[in-house]
């Protein structure tokens, strides 16, 4: 098998999730394709540094993420500030306050059914890049913390803390956006 075919056989199982990840990072299809193509070229040229017995998806997403950070810095979008610690179980508490039952298989349905994809996307976009990359990678790939740590070149403990804080902040943002947009009323018995 020639080098290009070998590389493509490694990439192919991961290219769709990589595109989705790039799309969620950049926010549009053209920028996602540019980012993915840049990352593919960089990875192809650097394939000799890939250890065959290691995780290709994590290795490739690391290249893609680094490329995203590079472009973000050029566009002055890269943000590194830490998040204020949001409360735990924020949506659960809001649902409980409104008197929704927590029984059944989907106790969050009363709230989530009123939200929409745009609200979820905007809530994610409110996170700074360092938290957004962890959250999006986690939600899209379901990779274990260990692999996300490799992909983002950060310690596992940092993956855990960023992910947990991002989730908490995401719940606050989801609620605030849904209320602001009239999707959900904060009034009890509404």
């Amino acid at each position: 098998m020639n080098p290009q075919a070998t590389f493509e056989s490694l990439l192919k199982p991961h290219q769709e999730v990589a595109y989705r990840y790039a799309f969620r990072l950049t926010g549009n299809a053209d920028a996602a394709m540019d980012l993915l193509q840049d990352a593919v070229l960089l990875a192809y040229k650097a394939i000799e540094s890939f250890q065959p017995d290691s995780n290709f998806r994590a290795w490739f997403l690391r290249i893609l993420t680094n490329r995203f950070y590079r472009v973000s810095q050029q566009n002055k979008r890269h943000q590194t500030e830490s998040l204020d610690d949001a409360p735990d179980l924020y949506l659960y508490d809001q649902a409980a306050r409104l008197g929704h039952t927590m029984e059944g298989d989907n106790p969050a349905a009363a709230i989530l059914d009123k939200m929409d994809q745009e609200t979820v996307r905007d809530a994610i976009d409110r996170l700074s890049d360092d938290y957004r990359t962890v959250a999006i990678m986690h939600y899209l790939t379901t990779m274990p913390y260990e692999d996300i740590a490799v992909a983002l070149d950060i310690p596992i403990g940092t993956v855990r803390s960023r992910l947990h804080r991002a989730r908490k902040q995401l719940q606050v943002s989801l609620w605030q956006l849904a209320v602001d947009r009239g999707l959900i009323s904060e009034e009890i018995n509404s």
Binding site: E8, R20, L36, H164
Partner: protein
């Protein structure tokens, strides 16, 4: 046999439990607690619903039908 977890101990582990990042022993201890605690199991199911909802929404990205062809052509030209 290990001591069963308290509500507080389950709460501390809830996010890692959702991500299956606990040890097998800890997962078993959380499972055992959730079977017997209505409040914690409600919190767990609610959080699991939210996680699944966000993941499903984020995954709804239309992937270009010619993605593979475009990447392959680009590599060929590289």
């Amino acid at each position: 046999m290990n001591q069963p977890f308290t509500c507080g101990e389950v709460f501390e582990r809830l996010q890692d439990y959702l991500d299956r990042e606990l040890s097998a022993e800890e997962i078993a201890a959380v499972d055992a607690h959730l079977e017997n605690c209505t409040m914690c199991s409600g919190e767990y199911r609610f959080e699991a619903n939210v996680l699944r909802y966000v993941a499903q929404n984020l995954a709804e990205v239309p992937v270009p039908a010619d993605l593979n062809d475009r990447l392959s052509s680009m590599l060929k030209a590289a």
